[in-house]
């Protein structure tokens, strides 16, 4: 039997919190497919995030542009996981970040209107989103610790342990920015750290 995009989504959400069949039907009906080229800006800074994405293929990054020529990569997303500017989506306020695709990407996405209706009508769906949001918050806070307390080498090791394939798919300057170090230090680490 062929695995559909919605099956992939279901595998992912089942691991978070399985939904009863009727709730799953309502939930899965809200998602639509979207395919975009590489280097496509999905959400611009100042825009309010209208969608929650589920990544089927490709890599994306959210980044912040500071006024002093610096650019900070905040997060990478890739399959299978949610994507989108989470804070802007949840609060429906303008996004401080840009969200762009690094490689050609395929998604399922759900609009904020649809999401809102689902969480109002179904307790299990509400619980599912709450679980996903909680885990995202946990991840963001853990990363805060890494950024403030880890040495460059520890940051580098942690990244590779969590996402071993990321060195091949993401340009190193973005990885360096994500870890809060400059590109030269990052390339030194690649050449010296034994994994």
């Amino acid at each position: 039997m062929q695995v559909t995009d919605k099956d992939i989504l279901k595998n992912f959400t089942d691991a978070l919190l399985p939904l009863p069949e009727t709730d799953w039907q309502a939930f899965s009906a809200g998602w639509q497919e979207l395919t975009v080229k590489r280097k496509t800006v999905l959400t611009a800074a100042g825009e309010t995030e209208r969608y929650l994405y589920f990544v089927l293929e490709g890599v994306q990054r959210a980044f912040y542009l500071a006024d002093d020529h610096r650019e900070a990569t905040i997060v990478f997303t890739y399959a299978p996981s949610f994507s989108g500017v989470a804070d802007s989506f949840l609060t429906q306020t303008p996004s401080p970040f840009f969200l762009e695709t690094i490689t050609a990407s395929r998604f399922l996405r759900i609009s904020h209107d649809c999401y809102k209706q689902l969480i109002l009508e179904s307790r299990p769906i509400n619980d599912l989103f709450f679980k996903a949001t909680s885990l995202a918050l946990q991840g963001a806070l853990l990363r805060h610790i890494e950024l403030q307390c880890y040495t460059n080498e520890e940051k580098f090791r942690t990244l590779l342990k969590r996402s071993p394939h990321i060195l091949q798919i993401v340009p190193h300057k973005y990885l360096a920015s994500y870890l809060g170090m400059d590109a030269t230090n990052f390339s030194k680490l690649i050449n010296t750290v034994r994994l």
């Binding site: 800006v41 999905l42 611009a44 100042g46 825009e47 006024d67």
Partner: protein
């Protein structure tokens, strides 16, 4: 001739605009004397180009908003360019290689002032881009064929809404190629002569 799925067209224009917003954030990091310097005689500074684009965005942002307010149309699956709209977009649209083919002269009513403030022009321009993104989103529920928007040329000359959007975005893309080229020139010139910012007072 030139039939396209309405949602595909809207998404494409939105992603072009987001690209332009991203470039604006780069511009915001340039000092004012760079943005306000003319790259040559009779050639516009970046701030002037932005004012030129703002003149169009002010007009079209307003009329499109009016047209979409209380419109009675329903979304059509496909959009078909009108002959005039198609022509306007085609001559504006930069080539695949990202170069501008034909130079054009701007109409007198769209010429910028001699020395507009770059900060003001940039933030106004950004506001217009966000307005355009929203108007495009609203247009997903409207008929891009049936709503017709008067042009700046003459109120009797109207383009289909889909053409107005396409033309407007192509026009901005064209001028952003100009902006990037000017910036490169100005920076190279600054490097050559190692001129101080104060040297640009005139």
């Amino acid at each position: 001739m030139n039939r396209i799925n309405s949602n595909v067209l809207i998404s494409r224009l939105q992603s072009d605009i987001r690209e332009i917003i991203l470039l604006c954030h780069d511009l915001r990091q340039q000092p004012a004397y760079i943005l306000e310097r003319m790259p040559g005689a009779e050639r516009w500074s970046v701030a002037q180009v932005l004012e030129h684009l703002n003149i169009y965005a002010r007009y079209y942002g307003g009329v499109i908003e009016n047209k979409l307010h209380l419109h009675q149309t329903t979304a059509a699956d496909n959009f078909t360019s009108g002959w005039l709209g198609n022509y306007f977009t085609r001559i504006m649209e930069p080539g695949e290689d990202g170069t501008v083919k034909r130079k054009m002269k701007s109409p007198a009513n769209a010429r910028p002032r001699t020395k507009p403030d770059s900060g003001e022009m940039l933030s106004e321009f950004l506001q217009h881009q966000h307005q355009l993104l929203n108007l495009l989103e609203i247009s997903r529920h409207a008929d891009l064929n049936k709503i017709r928007v008067p042009t700046t040329l003459h109120s009797f000359i109207k383009l289909k809404l889909g053409d107005t959007f396409s033309f407007l975005v192509a026009h901005e893309k064209r001028h952003f190629i100009q902006i990037l080229a000017s910036l490169r020139e100005i920076k190279a010139e600054k490097f050559d002569q190692s001129m101080e910012p104060s040297g640009h007072a005139l």
